[in-house]
């Protein structure tokens, strides 16, 4: 494969790794903060899956980049502007309703996305997708169940869930944005055409929202920019936290 193609695949793997890493980080913030011990355990379990997924994508990106890059140089030595995760992943964890709604919206998306990525011409990406898909099926079972519990639980839980969805909805269109890099990789059979997933995603979500008795709003406001490094203010703080040791003691092995 040509170097140009390698560079593009590296950038693609890198952004998928960023999505997983930032999402895993947010979930890991629930450790010792869950509503009860079983949920604490479940959320750190899901966080662990995302960190594992991030490591697979970033290790692959680093291999393609070469020149001494590793999963850790990618995770710990890039600043906010160089991170390419989508914005929805970096939003603060919020309350349990916010975390549940985000997880559910993303699980439905990832189910479709990873299913498609399993067919990638790139065998490493396909293999990571296959492993991740198993996890996502389990995550979705759980997040969907919680959507129903919160939506059909008490007035308070329903209201909190509705509020969370409204806070999130404007970040969902970015999940389906295809930029020039992905367009190129789609034509090579390597990347997933995310734009093509939106309809199935929406109808799956609407079905669950309906069962949960919550309205799925239209995205009348839309915020974008993650792939080009145009982030929310939250990411810088997340990175300050995540990268602290590596930044304070550069060049060490841990």
């Amino acid at each position: 494969m040509s170097n140009v193609a390698n560079e593009k695949i590296a950038a693609y793997a890198n952004r998928l790794g960023d999505d997983s890493l930032i999402h895993g980080h947010r979930l890991s913030e629930w450790c010792s903060n869950g509503p009860f011990l079983e949920e604490d355990l479940a959320m750190t379990n899901v966080a662990l899956d995302y960190i594992g997924r991030a490591r697979n994508f970033l290790t692959y990106a680093a291999e393609l980049i070469g020149g001494g890059a590793t999963e850790d140089t990618l995770a710990y030595e890039r600043d906010c502007l160089e991170y390419t995760n989508l914005l929805i992943y970096e939003l603060p964890k919020g309350d349990f309703a916010f975390t549940t709604a985000r997880q559910y919206l993303l699980d439905e998306f990832e189910l479709l996305f990873l299913t498609a990525l399993c067919n990638s011409e790139d065998s490493t990406l396909a293999a990571v997708a296959e492993k991740s898909l198993k996890e996502t099926r389990y995550h979705l079972r759980r997040s969907k169940e919680w959507m129903l519990r919160l939506g059909n639980g008490t007035e308070e839980s329903k209201e909190k869930l509705q509020t969370a969805v409204e806070q999130l909805i404007g970040y969902t269109p970015e999940l389906f944005e295809v930029d020039a890099l992905e367009k190129d990789l789609i034509s090579g059979g390597i990347a997933v055409d995310r734009a093509g997933l939106e309809e199935s995603w929406r109808s799956a979500c609407e079905k669950t929202f309906d069962e949960a008795g919550v309205n799925m709003p239209q995205a009348v406001w839309r915020v974008k920019g993650g792939r080009t490094g145009f982030h929310t203010e939250h990411l810088g703080h997340l990175l300050a936290d995540m990268q602290f040791v590596q930044r304070a003691y550069p060049g060490c092995q841990w």
Binding site: L21, H25, S28, E29, C31, S32, N33, G34, P35, F36, L37, E38, E39, D40, L41, T44, N45, A47, L48, I51, G52, A54, R55, L58, E71, D72, A75, Y76, D95, F96, L148, R149, L150, N152, G153, T154, E156, S157, K160, D241, M242, F244, V245, Q246, Y249, C252, Q253, W254
Partner: protein, 323 residues
Amino acid sequence: MNMSTMNLNRSQDEAELEAEFQRRIDNEEKIEPKDWMPEAYRKNLIRQISQHAHSEVIGMQPEGNWITRAPSLHRKAVLLAKVQDEAGHGLYLYSAAETLGISREELIDALHTGAAKYASIFNYPSLSWADMGAIGWLVDGAAIVNQVSLQRTSYGPYARGMVRICKEESFHQRQGYHILMTLMEGDERQRKMAQDAVNRFWWPSLMMFGPHDSDSEHSGQSMTWKIKRQSNDELRQKFVDQSVEQAEAIGLTLPDPDLRWNEERGHYDFGEIDWDEFYSVIAGNGHCNRDRVAHHRRAHDEGAWVREALDAYENKRAAARTA
């Protein structure tokens, strides 16, 4: 039959039951939840198991404090898995306590009011990444010594819980030791960080075994009932003996000038623990006493609406099924 004869008969029955109970204990039979047991045995077990469960759960905080800051993705994943195990251990132990007729809600209330304790070691702060190493190696190491012994405890559900927990704890201790080993192979600042963590956690780890046997409030009866199988001082000695060589192997110094091999005893001698510090931290003078409980209470309170929603949902579903 008059009242006093009835009372006499009851206490005779009780005495027989107690004798039979002690005979089973002496015979190394496990006591199971439905078996008769003296009320004091039940109380003693609830106290010990709940303290153990709370320790696992509160122990998630000092380590959770470093999950988001772990210095490599590998370390982050291992630490996450470890803290997740601790939560799992908390669950087994709460379940074991529940077999004695107390609810999770009551157990958590007791933690919040201070009626139930957790291991005082978690009142010490985790200040550097090396503390994840020291906690894994020393704190989990001390816990394992205690828990290995408790695999033979007389109460069945507790003993079986310990067997599962011990399997996982040895991985925890290795991950802690490996963190320190890597730091000791690193640069001057990293070695200093590792040594500093060991300096801060060594003595509190020795305190984890509790007061000297001669001063231990609950020890005598617990040994007779075989809730405890080895004394505080025996277990502490075992821990010191195993730690000295492990420290030497990676170039760490244990902060005790009196630590030396005693050929005659076949054990390491070590200095006297600062018991004033021990009792002072238990009494509330540790850095984190207030934070740990407040953190747990906050998370519990913030989760109240979630638990209510879950109950309401389950009730609605149950009602729909019977309708």
